[in-house]
Each structure stands twice: as structure tokens, then as C-alpha cells.
């Protein structure tokens, strides 16, 4: 694992590894079968920059209206030492929160370094674990090992301590209307929370305590209905935790892929970049467009070689795994004699072609 680290550095072409946050780590679970994404993520390559270099910028712009709304809501919930949040935890979830204390771990006097901030997070959490002191720890700077390299997580949550147990509190600005929210948005929030739960658990274990003191139940704080009033909903993130742990464990296995790559391969900007990227196989599916910065490049590549997968996972599945559109059509038309292992697929495609022609009659 550590032996691959120099290789991975080389892949970045000397650029510093990109910062991870819970969102980028959660994105690792979206398409784990993709070697290209796996290698780039493990090496901390700035995929957004690479995609731009390649002429396929990822269209993930954010509207300032959404950003403003998110910031306003978060500030409101956290105002006055998280007064609104505490009211919520007490009234809505019925928790008995004694006199509460709020620590913002983002502010370390005179120092901006992450090491310092992480040290402070460690210190305060250690004390909380020992003595039960402290209630809300805002912006804890946590660390997680990604592909054999420790990365700091941009802190975006509050760790909430109650009776010796920690809960992750995540503030999101999408609405919960009559108890329901957009399932995709909740899922994204749950995956991100799971990353924090995992990082917190690792820290708690490092401090010599039972990791189970970090609850798998996180509190999602969102605006309620059409108002700015926050509401808190408990979310069980055990499934997401299992997935994130699995994928992190898997990332360390990219050394096998890296070992098979050309020794001088690098994703540094330059004329050779497209070729370098293509040297690592992608597993493109249209779903990638929702989560991977490289998706538009990979889509273009998949379309250019006439891959059936570019039409969707279920299409390729219907074709019994035939990868090429041209080949599938040739089998369907009967112009290509199928190899033995494709005989069945070919027969079905020919029947489908006949039935389509028959039904379309004059139309076709």
C-alpha cells in the first residue's frame, strides 16, 4: 500500500493532492467498478481540472440563490451558540440535553494549519469522551485514510455529545415537507454523514475508546415545509457506513491497477493527457454524469467506440452483455455469424428484429 504512494504522486504530475471532503469521499461509492476513477481518486488527482484540460468541463455549477439559501439557513440554525438547534434536539426529538456548551473548532487562535486544528479537535473530543464535557462541537476537523494517505475532511458538521455518545448533526437546506424530502438528496446527505461517522469512529478508537460511542443514527436538520424553521430527523446510516467502509478498503487495492500501468504515466496537463487518461479503463454508465467530473469525457469516449453501455446499464443487460452497438446490430440483422457464446443472444436479437419489422409493417 505505502509502496504505491510514489507512483500515485507521479500520476498527479507533481501537483498537490486535491482536498477531499465528505462529498468527494461519498462519491467513491457511486461507481466502484471504474478503474479510471479509482486510480484518479486514490492519487488525489484533481479530476475537475483534468476534465477541463480535456475539453469536457463538468457542468456542476451552483446557483448563487441556492448557496445563499444554504448559508442563511445554516447561520440561522447555528446563531447564538446553536440556540435553535438545541431547541430542536430538545423539543422535536425529545432529548434531555442539560446545560449545553458550544465549541467552534474552526477557530484556533492565530493558526490556520490543519494539523493544529485537528489537534484541537482531538483534544476536545478526548476530553469529552473522558469527562462528558461539551455538547456541540462545530466544524470538527477530522482525518481519514484514503488510499493509504491521510486526508483532512473539510469540516461541515457538528458533533453532538449526549450522555457519552456522539451524534453527527448535518445541516442541509433542502426542505422536509410533511415529513418527506427528496430521496436522492437524503441519500447524498446520508452518505456524507456516514463518512463523518466513520472518521469520528476512527478518531474515538485512536483515543482508546469504543468506536460505538459514535452513533450510527445521525440528525439531519432541514427547513420544514415552506418555511425557514428547522426540523430535525434521525437517519440511520448503517447501510451507508458499510458501503463507505467497503469502498475505502477497496481503494487500497488500486495498487494492482497502478502496477499494470505504463511506468511514466501521468495526468499532468499536456498533449499526452487524453492518451494517459484513456490508458486507464473506465466503466462508464449514464449515472456517472450525476457524480463524476470525468463523466462527459468518458461518455464521449464510450459513444465514439459505439459502446452499448452509453445507452444505459439496462440496455447492455438486455443485450446479454454485448458491448458494441455495431456488433449487436450485425447480430440482429444476421449479417454477422455469432461465435458460439453469442449464439443465444444473436437468436434473440434476430427474433426481436423480425417481430419489430412485422409490427411496424409499412412504417419501417
Amino acid at each position: 500500500m505505502t509502496e504505491t504512494a510514489p507512483d500515485l504522486d507521479r500520476l498527479r504530475g507533481g501537483a498537490p493532492p486535491r482536498n477531499h471532503d465528505a462529498r468527494t469521499i461519498a462519491a467513491l461509492t457511486a461507481n466502484p467498478g471504474c478503474a479510471r476513477r479509482g486510480v484518479m481518486d486514490a492519487a488525489g488527482v484533481d479530476k475537475d481540472a483534468v476534465a477541463r484540460q480535456l475539453g469536457f468541463p463538468a457542468p456542476y455549477g451552483q446557483s448563487q440563490f441556492a448557496i445563499t439559501r444554504g448559508n442563511v439557513f445554516e447561520q440561522q440554525v447555528k446563531a447564538d451558540g446553536c440556540a435553535e438547534l438545541l431547541t430542536l434536539l430538545r423539543d422535536r426529538l425529545g432529548l434531555t440535553v442539560p446545560e449545553a456548551r458550544y465549541d467552534d473548532l474552526e477557530e484556533v487562535a492565530g493558526s490556520e494549519s490543519r494539523e493544529m486544528r485537528h489537534a484541537r479537535t482531538r483534544r476536545l473530543l478526548a476530553r469529552a469522551l473522558e469527562t462528558g464535557e461539551g455538547t456541540l462541537f462545530d466544524h470538527p476537523l477530522l482525518r481519514l485514510e484514503i488510499g493509504g494517505r491521510a486526508v483532512y475532511l473539510e469540516p461541515d458538521v457538528i458533533a453532538f455529545q449526549l450522555a457519552g455518545r456522539f451524534h453527527v448533526v448535518e445541516i442541509k437546506s433542502f426542505a422536509v415537507i410533511d415529513g418527506q424530502a427528496e430521496p436522492e438528496q437524503v441519500a447524498a446527505a446520508a452518505r456524507q454523514s456516514a463518512v463523518y461517522v466513520l472518521a469520528l469512529r476512527r478518531l474515538v478508537a485512536e483515543l482508546g475508546h469504543d468506536p460505538a460511542r459514535v452513533a450510527h443514527e445521525v440528525f439531519l436538520v432541514c427547513p420544514e415545509n415552506f418555511t425557514n424553521r428547522p426540523t430535525a430527523t434521525p437517519v440511520d446510516v448503517r447501510p451507508q457506513l458499510a458501503v463507505v467502509e467497503r469502498q475505502l478498503a477497496r481503494l487500497t487495492r488500486v495498487d494492482e491497477i497502478v502496477a499494470a500501468l505504463p511506468a511514466d504515466l501521468t495526468f499532468a496537463p499536456g498533449a499526452a493527457l487524453p492518451e494517459s487518461v484513456r490508458a486507464v479503463q473506465a466503466r462508464y454508465a449514464p449515472e456517472c454524469m450525476a457524480s463524476c467530473e470525468m463523466a462527459f469525457f468518458c461518455r464521449d469516449e464510450a459513444r465514439a467506440c459505439g459502446a452499448t453501455g452509453a445507452l444505459g446499464r439496462s440496455v447492455r443487460d438486455d443485450l446479454g452483455g454485448v458491448d458494441s452497438i455495431a456488433m449487436a446490430l450485425a447480430l440482429a440483422e444476421g449479417t454477422l455469424e455469432p461465435a458460439a457464446e453469442l449464439a443465444e443472444t444473436a437468436a434473440q436479437l434476430r427474433t426481436a428484429t423480425r417481430l419489430r419489422r412485422e409490427a411496424l409493417g409499412g412504417l419501417h
Partner: protein
């Protein structure tokens, strides 16, 4: 997805043009539908930004909220929208025709027509449902009074959105879903969600093929999104300054112009899509399903004045009833589509649940004399190359004339032998033309439509203990009416 529609996608990708996956139109298209393209403010649950709408393609109306965070402006918008939607409802319903009285002698009516709304995509339906949710509980009196049209709009939008869940209903259609029911493109279903890209494959502009037209459609500058979400770059570079200018000057023209520019291209696409759909011949069962839609509409319309806003969530009994209705509609819809359209029936043939071929033999005048009285039981040998996956003894019917029923008696190398059991008249010789003749092309299927009967449910007052007992009666509360909308 099925192999047949996947094959159509391959053909579309290879030819550069969308390929048909239906031979008839499976949805009703009103003579004058209300086309609506709503936009919402990014980051908000249901803050309307604008809607372009109308029944006449030459005269779209444009409603905008020049400062979407201003609550009074939102309600003014809702009142304006209510006016147009309620007018559309009244203009579309036609006369009330009297039907045969019900079992208990009660009078029954059905409007001869019903209002139809067309939206670009399912996201639009979700937005209208939320807009309905945020307006239907408003009160027309008291401290937060709104115009009477606002809660009425809320109830109607809620009703339309609910009907959209109903399989086969055409009261609220989305154009992307309607087009995808009839064409397969050379891109993925995810990408089909973009109306402009979808239309690019079905009806590309001169000189472009589907792929090129779709690629062009993905550029939000050329083809602004069909809503309800707006393009973030537009938000940041055009809309935000325009709203700021409204805040300063009180003139909304700049916001209007900006939003009109975003909506107009989709407006044209919507009507072009309507043209394409209208050009398809209507499926045989479409009128029957529209009749169900008219029934639903008639009931809601006639009971509107006495009714209260739909509750936030279904009660246990309501939920169970609704699920049953939906499953029943789904069952009927799937069967009807297959019987209406040989290309849908082809999917069942490919799955082995139907088979087609030429009548190659049999005994069209065969009598079964094993019982007390002889019965007309013709045998038909159908030579088929289809992969039949039915067992002998399975009941089947003729796809073209489902009244002609039979059962499979043999599946052999020469084909399938079907014994006809009904649909040939009451005599011992078949009614003329009822039994297919030698050389006729026929399709038989095990599919049956409408096998799903109505079901019995407890009254809500009798909700059993297993489901929490009877829920409290819903009374609209002041709290609902005063709910903030910020």
C-alpha cells in the same frame, strides 16, 4: 426496458434518428390542452419564479415573480396563475351528460370533456404538487388572507398531480414521458429527460442528426433547461442582476425579459412535441381511459364546493384504496396497450407470452361430442417461429379480437394448436368470419385485461387497531392557513 426497446435504441444510435416503439398513440391529446412551463428559484422548496402557459401556441402568457423571496409577490403570482388554470378547467369541461342511474337510483353525470395540462417533465409535476401543497390550505380571510383563487388553485394542482400517478391517465401529461412512450432515442433514458435533446433525436433540425441535435441541446445557452430548475450560470449572470435591478427600481421588465428568453425555446418545443404526438393515430382504448379520466374529473369538480383541501398525507384507508386503484389501472393499462398496438404485443411475443403466425391447418368446424351435447370447438394450427413459453392448457385469446377465446392443446414442431372455446356465436357452426381461415395471420396471447376486480375496504371510522384505529377527522386548522411561506 425490454430487448425490443433496447434494439430500437441501437437502431436509433446507428441511424441517427429516434425509432418508433409504438404504432399508435397511447395517450389522449386534448383539442386545447393547457401547456405550462414552470420555473422555480434554486435552493427553495417551492418558490415560483415564472411560468409560461396557455392554450394557444401563438399567445403564451408569462407570469413572473420579480423578487421570488417576496411573499406578497408569490401570492399575487399564485392568484394570477389560479385565474388562468381555473378558466382552463371551466372552458374544457363540456356539458354534463346524464348516465344511467346508479344501483341505488342516484343520478350520475359525466362531463363530455375534461381539462388537460401538459408539462415538460416529471420535475414539473413535482413542483406543481409542492405549489399545490403550499397554497391549498391558505385561508381567504383572517390575518393572512389570500385571494379565493389561491386555495382553489392549490386543490386543483394537488388533484392533477395525484392523477399523474394514475397509470394511463392523460389529465396531466409530461411531454418527455409521452414522447418516450412512442419513440426510442440513441441516448440513455437519463439523457432523454432533457426535452430538447429528446426532441433533437425525434425531430432534428435540418442538417443535423439526432446525436448532433442532442449535443447542441445540452448547451444551456442554446437550449435553456425546460425547468423547473434553471441553469446556474443563468441564475448567477443574468437573473441575479435582473432581480437586483428590480429591487432597486421596482421595474420588473428586466426579470421578465430574462425569464422569457429562458422559456420561449421550450414553449416552441412543447408545441412541436404536441404536433408529433397528434400525428400518431389514437390507440383503440385511449377513449375508454379518457372516459375514466372524465369520471374522475366530474366527481372532483361537482364536489369541489363542499370539499376541503386534500390532507397532507393519506390516511391508512385512503392509502390502501388508492394503491388498489393504481394497481387496477396499471393492470388494465398494460393489457390495453398490448391489445391496441402490435408493437407492444411483440414484446409479449418475444417473452413467450404471446405467439403469432399463419394458420396452417386444423379443423375449423370441429365439434366436441364427448359431453351430453355437442359443442363447437374448432382447432387451429398456428405455424409460429416465436419462442412460445406457454404450457398446454393455458387459456389464450386472439390479440386482434380478444373476444375470440381458446386454450392451447398442443405445442409441436409444426406450431401451436389452439382449441377455440368462445367468441364464435351460439350455434354449432361458427358465425361467419369469426374463425380465422387457412393462411390468415393471427396472434394469440395469454394476456387478459381487467382481471383485477374492485375491492372492499373498511370505512375510515372502522380503521382497525392493526393500523392505529380511526384517525381523527381532518379539520383545516388556522395553523395550516398561516403556515409561513418564506
Amino acid at each position: 426496458m425490454s430487448v425490443l426497446s433496447s434494439l430500437a435504441r441501437l437502431e436509433a444510435a446507428a441511424t441517427g434518428r429516434a425509432q418508433p416503439v409504438a404504432t399508435v398513440r397511447h395517450c389522449h391529446l386534448a383539442g386545447a390542452p393547457l401547456v405550462m412551463i414552470p420555473l422555480k428559484l434554486a435552493g427553495e422548496a417551492a418558490a415560483p419564479l415564472a411560468v409560461m402557459l396557455g392554450r394557444d401556441r401563438a399567445e403564451p402568457a408569462l407570469l413572473v415573480v420579480p423578487q421570488p423571496r417576496n411573499r406578497d409577490l408569490r401570492f399575487a403570482f399564485a392568484a394570477d396563475l389560479a385565474k388562468i388554470v381555473l378558466e382552463h378547467i371551466e372552458a374544457s369541461r363540456g356539458a354534463a351528460e346524464a348516465l344511467a342511474p346508479g344501483k341505488d337510483g342516484e343520478e350520475r353525470f359525466r362531463y363530455t370533456d375534461a381539462p388537460q395540462i401538459l408539462l415538460p417533465n416529471p420535475g414539473g409535476v413535482g413542483f406543481l404538487a409542492r405549489l399545490g401543497r403550499s397554497t391549498r390550505f391558505r385561508s381567504t380571510e383572517g390575518p393572512y388572507a389570500v385571494e379565493p383563487g389561491v386555495p382553489a388553485l392549490g386543490r386543483w394542482l394537488t388533484w392533477f398531480a395525484d392523477r399523474h400517478d394514475h397509470p394511463g391517465s392523460s389529465l396531466l401529461l409530461t411531454v418527455t414521458e409521452a414522447l418516450r412512450l412512442h419513440w426510442a432515442t440513441g441516448q440513455s433514458s437519463l439523457e432523454d429527460g432533457n426535452l430538447a435533446a429528446l426532441m433533437g433525436w425525434i425531430d432534428p433540425p435540418d442538417g443535423l442528426d439526432g446525436a448532433a441535435a442532442a449535443a447542441r441541446a445540452e448547451d444551456p445557452v442554446v437550449c435553456p433547461p425546460a425547468g423547473p430548475a434553471t441553469d446556474p450560470t443563468f441564475d448567477n449572470e443574468v437573473l441575479a442582476p435582473a432581480i437586483a435591478s428590480y429591487d432597486e427600481t421596482g421595474h420588473e421588465q428586466r426579470v421578465r425579459t430574462a425569464l422569457e428568453g429562458q422559456l420561449a425555446p421550450t414553449w416552441d418545443l412543447m408545441w412541436r412535441a404536441v404536433d408529433l404526438l397528434r400525428a400518431l393515430p389514437e390507440g383503440a382504448s385511449v377513449a375508454k381511459r379518457w372516459e375514466r379520466d372524465r369520471d374522475g374529473f366530474t366527481w372532483f369538480h361537482r364536489n369541489f364546493d363542499e370539499g376541503v383541501p386534500q390532507p397532507r398525507r393519506d390516511t391508512a384507508v385512503r392509502a390502501a384504496r388508492r394503491l388498489h386503484d393504481l394497481e387496477r389501472a396499471q393492470d388494465a393499462y398494460e393489457a390495453q396497450r398490448a391489445f391496441d398496438d402490435p408493437l407492444i404485443m411483440a414484446e409479449h411475443r418475444l417473452n413467450g407470452q404471446a405467439f403469432g403466425g399463419v394458420v396452417a391447418g386444423g379443423d375449423p368446424a370441429r365439434l366436441d361430442e364427448s359431453g351430453k351435447r355437442p359443442k363447437l370447438r374448432p382447432h387451429l394450427l398456428i405455424a409460429t417461429a416465436d419462442p412460445v413459453r406457454l404450457d398446454t392448457g393455458t387459456a389464450v385469446c386472439n390479440a386482434a379480437r380478444p373476444g375470440l377465446k381458446g386454450k392451447i392443446v398442443d405445442i409441436g414442431p409444426d406450431g401451436v394448436t389452439v382449441e377455440l372455446t368462445g367468441g364464435m356465436g351460439n350455434r354449432l357452426t361458427p358465425a361467419p368470419g369469426s374463425v380465422p381461415e387457412l393462411g390468415d395471420r393471427v396472434v394469440f396471447t395469454s394476456l387478459t385485461g381487467g382481471s383485477f376486480g374492485p375491492a372492499r375496504f373498511p370505512d375510515r371510522e372502522s380503521t382497525p387497531w392493526t393500523h392505529g384505529g380511526p384517525p381523527p377527522e381532518y379539520v383545516p386548522a388556522d395553523e395550516d392557513a398561516q403556515e409561513e411561506w418564506s
